[in-house]
């Protein structure tokens, strides 16, 4: 049962990485879009694309944490004790990001919009970095039950390279999705704009991976030895191939499929990490079965997840379906400011 819950946890993590990651990437490109005038059109597209879905995307993170503490309490406690600072910084980033994004839209003054926009964009960079650094710290075996917060747990070479790669991956996902959105909203210039950025972030990821290889060889020996053989290696290679396919699809403007391949490449790499860590949650100090919570709870966790898949799955599908068909659009001022019929006296 613990094994099953661990897989659910990995699936939810992958879902957050893709759904949330796309949003972070959109924020990254918002940050890079340049001055108010030059960045006007990309920013509008980013708002447009993110708006209806970002709240739902955020819930994956919450669900991930709940599975952690309900399914594997000692694992949750160990991660949050050892990784105190990066997680505290990540949550500050989440506040700035959500607040900035939500308040930017209904604000009209340019100066204020700039402030909210900056909060949103900068934190879109910081949050994935710190979350990535946490994963790097776990993967390199720096988190163990009883370890207290220290700078080494997250400011080590593996963490930094994972943090940077997380930013790279979000930028890549964001750019691919925005390319498809630009096509959908019939803005050919923006298709080219984001397509170029998707390629660039993919290239950056390759460079980071090449730098990362020798670093992790020394710094994260356990993971390195696992990921360079057998199934994990296969998954990594598959991920790389699918990423390449994405680049080619973009080049051929086959924009309907590139989103799926981009998501697949990220999922494959995460799966490789998960498989490589088996049977550990925290290499090499805490296994899945050691960390598992009470059996009865785990059974119920799986049941609750099953019910949720039945309930949330269809509604999420409706949301994405409506969104991609252009059926969802924010209320404009002309709606809420529509004149009420002549004011009758009460």
């Amino acid at each position: 049962m613990a094994e099953a819950v661990a897989w659910i946890m990995l699936v939810v993590l992958a879902a957050y990485a893709c759904a949330g990651g796309t949003d972070y990437g959109a924020g990254f490109w918002d940050l890079c879009a340049g001055g108010a005038e030059r960045g006007e059109r990309p920013r509008r597209l980013i708002d447009h694309a993110m708006e209806p879905v970002w709240e739902a995307n955020n819930v994956w993170l919450i669900f991930l944490m709940i599975i952690m503490w309900t399914g594997f309490p000692p694992f949750f406690a160990a991660v949050f004790s050892a990784m105190w600072l990066p997680l505290a910084l990540a949550v500050l980033g989440l506040v700035l990001r959500g607040g900035g994004f939500a308040l930017r839209k209904p604000t009209r003054r340019l100066a204020q919009r700039r402030v909210y926009g900056a909060a949103f964009a900068v934190s879109s960079l910081l949050t994935p970095f710190f979350l990535g650094a946490v994963i790097g710290g776990i993967a390199s075996g720096r988190v163990a039950p009883g370890v207290t917060a220290s700078a080494d747990a997250w400011s080590n070479p593996t963490s930094i390279i994972t943090g940077l790669m997380t930013i790279g991956a979000t930028a890549y996902l964001g750019a691919v999705f925005l390319t498809a959105d630009a096509h959908r909203y019939q803005a050919p210039d923006l298709v080219d704009y984001f397509r170029l950025r998707a390629w660039c972030s993919l290239a950056a990821l390759v460079v980071l991976a090449l730098i990362g290889l020798p670093i992790t060889h020394h710094d994260a020996r356990f993971l390195w030895s696992r990921i360079t053989t057998g199934a994990p290696l296969g998954l990594v290679i598959a991920g790389a191939v699918v990423a390449l396919v994405t680049a080619l699809l973009l080049a051929r403007r086959a924009l309907r499929w590139c989103r799926y391949t981009a998501v697949a490449s990220v999922v494959l790499v995460i799966a490789a990490w998960g498989v490589a860590q088996r049977p550990y949650l925290l290499p090499t100090s805490l296994t899945v079965s050691q960390a598992a919570g009470a059996h009865h709870t785990l059974v119920w966790l799986v049941i609750v997840t099953g019910i949720a898949v039945v309930l949330v799955g269809p509604s999420l599908a409706v949301l994405y379906w409506l969104d991609t068909r252009g059926k969802l659009e924010a209320l404009a001022d002309s709606d809420t400011e529509q004149e009420v019929p002549p004011a009758e006296p009460a």
Partner: protein, 491 residues
């Protein structure tokens, strides 16, 4: 005294900032929760009326309330996410030991929020392009999802008050967990219903208050009348219900958490014929200064007769019960909640009596003045109720099973203080910006309603897509949705 000093020495210094941070972030989040739970319901009432009777005013209200919902829900998500992280950042001891016992409630809650986030997105962004009937019906599950979310949270909290569903092994670790028992704890029922009613009531009074103020300023059109009546009626119906449910929860506390009850009523020694104090302060030696003393009443309220025995604070060892200062605090918060709750009931009665006799709103300005502050009063009730619940449990984080000091993170106190400072500043800015945005929206709508907008320049249709700074930058070439090209109905 000796054991208390001992305990103080064992309380790590980061406990204080951790408690402050938890209390501050929860108290902020809870202000948004009534709206999160009940605003969709109130909006759907107006929406239903709008569709059913082809009532443009009601539809306009629903549209505007959902514009408010869009911003409010986002801030709720943000502050809620902070809480989720804080469970790990501040209380890893509690989560590490008890996570699998009481965590499942949160699992239910997360999926409920998920459903809510999805449905709210469809509702908020569906106004323009969905078929009106489909749009309405897709939103109907929303209030139920909100109730499910509250179910999860309250299950977790009531477990902390009356933990069960496990046995302890030799090392004090929980084993033999039974999930059903851990979710449906003795306090769960009373807490859940009291909480749900509080949420709908509060949201009703808060929304109605906005229109009451408009009414006082002389805006007496149908728009303000409807905007007042719909939410106020919801709240007025619930006010007497809340008194009954509140009475029930108080008695549940009396039976299940006698120490908390003793602190709420500042009862020092176990006794019968216990008097009720309204306000007043509990001193260290057990004497009470100030306050209004009503003989026998406390015993009567707890058990319907003066001979009811009420457990006093001294029945619990000093190290295991709230301090006199804490007791005084929750005594006050409890009394404030009850007094304001009773005042709200009187206001609801006023409304009901006038309505039954004249089929009209009360004419008195005083009625609308009271209605204008009823929202604030309910929010104060909500805060007070939670302080009663949480501080009354001290020094336990899991009642009689784990102390707050055992649960706290090992991170250094200055790190936690720093985080408290940063969050404090961040939340002040966030809430100030949130209020400002709401006021600006309100202002714009008023201008539109008073017909002043007609004199303003007409925007080309693209500006209608809600992007970009509007007046400041002239941008006519934004990406527009494919469907936007077939002519915008409102443009």
């Amino acid at each position: 005294m000796h054991s208390a000093l001992n305990l103080l020495a064992q309380t790590p210094p980061q406990t204080l900032p951790a408690r402050q941070l938890m209390a501050y972030t929860l108290a902020s989040h809870i202000l948004l929760v009534p709206m999160g739970v009940a605003l969709p319901f109130i909006t759907l009432l107006a929406h239903y009326r709008g569709l059913r009777r082809d009532d443009a005013v009601a539809l306009q209200l629903a549209r505007r309330w959902s514009a408010v919902m869009a911003v409010q829900f986002a801030i709720g998500i943000v502050t809620g996410t902070v809480l989720t992280f804080e469970f790990g950042l501040l209380w890893p001891g509690m989560m590490g030991r008890w996570g699998d016992v009481f965590g499942l409630g949160f699992g239910v809650e997360a999926w409920a929020f998920f459903l809510e986030a999805v449905l709210i997105a469809i509702y908020l962004y569906g106004w323009r392009r969905l078929d009106p009937k489909v749009h309405f019906w897709l939103a109907v599950p929303l209030p139920f999802a909100a109730l499910m979310g509250a179910f999860g949270i309250i299950a977790a909290n009531s477990w902390m008050n009356t933990p069960q569903g496990f046995t302890l092994d030799a090392q004090g670790k929980p084993v033999h967990v039974t999930v059903q028992q851990a979710v449906f704890t003795p306090m769960f029922g009373p807490e859940y219903w009291h909480f749900v009613v509080a949420m709908f009531l509060t949201a009703g009074y808060v929304v109605a208050g906005v229109y009451a103020v408009g009414w006082l300023r002389g805006r007496r059109d149908r728009y303000h009348r409807l905007g007042f009546t719909i939410p106020f009626t919801v709240a007025a119906i619930l006010s007497p219900v809340q008194l009954v449910v509140g009475d029930a929860i108080a008695r549940a506390v009396f039976h299940r958490q006698p120490t908390k009850f003793a602190a709420m009523e500042i009862v020092w020694n176990t006794n019968t014929h216990v008097p009720e104090y309204i306000f007043g302060r509990l001193n260290a030696g057990g004497t009470i200064s100030g306050g209004l003393r009503i003989p026998q009443l406390d015993s009567v309220l707890a058990g319907f007769k003066p001979s009811t025995q009420v457990t006093g604070l001294t029945a619990t060892p000093e190290a295991d019960r709230p301090t006199p200062t804490e007791a005084t605090l929750i005594h006050w918060t409890f009394d404030i909640m009850v007094l304001l709750g009773t005042a709200l009931l009187l206001l609801a009665l006023w409304y009901a009596v006038v309505w039954l006799r004249k089929r009209d709103l009360p004419q008195s300005r005083w009625f609308f003045r009271c209605a204008g502050v009823a929202g604030a009063a309910s929010l104060i009730c909500v805060e007070c109720g939670w302080i009663t619940t949480e501080v009354g449990r001290q020094p336990w984080i899991v009642y009689q099973n784990m102390r707050v000091a055992q649960a706290v993170t090992s991170t250094r106190a200055d790190s936690v203080w720093t985080m408290l400072g940063v969050i404090l500043a961040l939340y002040v800015v966030l809430f100030a910006a949130f209020i400002t945005v709401l006021r600006k929206m309100h202002h714009r709508w008023r201008i539109a309603d008073e017909g002043l907008a007609r004199n303003r320049p007409v925007h080309p249709p693209e500006i209608v897509t809600p992007y970009g700074p509007r007046e400041e930058a002239g941008m006519a070439t934004g990406p527009s949705r494919p469907a936007a090209q077939d002519g915008d109905p409102h443009g």
